[in-house]
């Protein structure tokens, strides 16, 4: 988590603080961009653009507020700009540009939140969650992959998913 002191340093454009922001939020920015744009190269461009814009706008950042929603808004805006640029280039002259964003832009907030939670898990728990969800492995297969007992896989999986449920509980407040 980004400390209040580091937020204040970010506001001054301190390179160390900006790097801390990248380490905290860079993966989530990339995930949102990749979901929205569906292309790794464009997602990496969006990643660079997002942090460049954030860096340029750092003097307007409010250090008393959570930087996550602020960075998410920048990331989404950058992805929209790149999407529209790509559409303009690909559009046939006779076809008007479609103003509606594709479905890939929906639910990116949940994706952002889940990715941040994953990045805050202990590495050994994240590895288990990755094996189960990303690689689609059973507990036994995950145990073989990670060279740990199956009981350890189960306990780490339980702890990790419990942490995720705890961390994501604020979605409940947002929904209420």
């Amino acid at each position: 988590m980004i400390s209040g002191r580091m937020r204040r340093r970010f506001r001054t454009g301190d390179p160390e603080a900006v790097r801390a922001f990248y380490e905290e939020f860079g993966r989530a920015v990339f995930a949102v961009a990749l979901r929205a744009l569906g292309d790794r190269g464009l997602a990496e461009e969006a990643l660079q653009q997002t942090f460049l814009r954030a860096w340029q706008a750092s003097s307007r950042f409010d250090p008393d507020r959570d930087p996550g929603p602020w960075l998410y808004a920048i990331a989404r805006r950058v992805a929209i700009d790149i999407h529209r640029r790509e559409r303009r280039h690909a559009a046939v002259d006779e076809q008007p540009e479609i103003a509606v964003l594709p479905a890939s832009f929906e639910s990116t907030w949940e994706l952002w939140e889940v990715r941040l939670c994953l990045d805050r898990l202990p590495a050994e728990e994240r590895a288990v969650v990755r094996a189960i969800h990303y690689l689609g492995l059973t507990h036994r297969e995950a145990a073989e992959l990670l060279s740990i007992p199956i009981g350890t896989v189960k306990s780490r999986s339980h702890r990790a998913h419990r942490r995720l449920a705890d961390m994501l509980s604020h979605l409940e407040e947002a929904t209420a």
Binding site: G13, G26, G41, A43, F51, V114, R115, R162, E172
Partner: protein, 210 residues
Amino acid sequence: MNCHDARAARFARDLNSEAEAHLAACARCRAMSEEIRRVGDELDDPALWEEPGPDADSMVLAMLGGGASSPASRRSGVWWMTGAAAAVVLVAGIGGLLLGQRHPADWTAVVIGSESAPDASGVVRGWNMASGTRVVLESRGLAPAPPGHHYEFWFIGDGMAFSGGTFLDPARVELLVAVPRRDFPTLLVTLEPTDGDPTPSDVWVLASED
């Protein structure tokens, strides 16, 4: 079993009868059922787990100011010849010429502030074209040029300097330079008096790293 335990079981795709019963009976969990389902689905989405490539990481971190050194030592006056017949240069504002660029940049370079602009820094992205180079400069820490002055972007190499165009606001500028980047490894932004002199001034504000 409480709400978080039941949701954790759902996320883990490890629902037992007790967890299922809780999710069905608990008013709070029922109200959250759509969010719980979506979070569970997110965990299975490959986009969630993908990582940017190492080049993207290193480029962003370099761009964000890690380990850059001052270019002040290179400020040794005009040591080059300006490009004969200067490059044919087109300059466009935001949203101008480069809206058609489709792909990630062919190259990216970090530019850092000199003694005359120690708080300035930026990044230059370039697209190699048959007819030259498309360039986007984005910077921070530089005010718009004062009256009677403008900024000028340069490609520099082997004692030659080609102007990439002039501009007043350096926050974001797009340029089309009619020479290839490969022969001009150094990028430079100067603050120029409006005096018609075609050579770079001594006032360097941004320069690429060696």
